[in-house]
Amino acid sequence: MTDARADQYACTESVLDITPDAAVVSNLGVASYVLASVSDSERARNFYQWGSMGVTTAVGLGLAISTDEPVTVLDGDGSLLMSLGTLTTVARYDPDNLTVVVWANDVYGTTGGQSLQASQTDFAGIAENSGLDAVTVRNTEAFADAYRDATESASVTVIVCHVDPVDPDARPPFDFPYIARRARDSLSTDTM
């Protein structure tokens, strides 16, 4: 095991560069704050979560089933740890337009940076044993390559990306119904 870690900001920028049209479902807290940091504030297809820790990947699954557009989940390791069973559900339906990124920073970053105490846990291994393709990456270039491959794959890939903890200043809109409605409108009215 190496200590190398990717930069979550640069990796999130890669997501937007590689899949500019993707609907992005971001976990509450740090994943959403980083997405807000690197996105145009008008980016309608960012479905930021303000709550429901542990449910982010499930939101992405429902969205991927209901739209033909690419869907990317930006989950956190703490959130995924809360709902590992969701990986089995994702494997059962395996929508070809879904990619799941797990930012593995080993801490509960939004609540003060407390340790997950999960260093023995192999999240990619859990995803694979749930029936999914999975890969672990530890630097920004490897992430971009893995993400490009994942979005071109007909199966769901879980990318576990080890990152340093960060504490962004940016915030998504506080108007939660607006976030959901804006994302919905952008997916239903776009003609591209």
Partner: protein, 171 residues
Amino acid sequence: MTWSKDAAEALADAGVDLIAYLPDSKMDALIDEVVDDSRFETVLVSREEEAIGVLVGAWVGGDRGALLCQSSGLANTFNAIGSLSVPARVPFLGAVTRRGNLGEFNIAQVPAGYNMDKLLDDVGVRNSVVTDSEDLRETVALAGETAFSTQSPYVVLLEQTVTGRKSEATE
């Protein structure tokens, strides 16, 4: 018609596209109806909280979602309902077999089951209890209509007088 056929028609009347569910002995009849019905996409979840996420995603993708589960499972959804469905104003229609009331033999079903209507009220989710199968189809269809037009979740609790009793208390 059986209660389960009535309920499936009501879900279709309400324009439901996607149904997320977890099995229950009483709910099986309705689940069997909907999984074989081409009007619905169905998603079996591993925990009911997941279903709320799936239904929220489906709404953002342009679909109308429904949840089928038992009242104990609905208790698993409360953080997702309270911190996603309600504050983001994302609707779903719930049809939930309610345990814990008349005829209940299992004390473990009582605290969340018997009190589920009050728990839903407290988290801000409107709800109705159906005790007579005559009322089922209209109640579920109207619940769907108000859920999707007001963009807020609505749950219909189905009593064992509708779905049939689980009779295990022998003495």
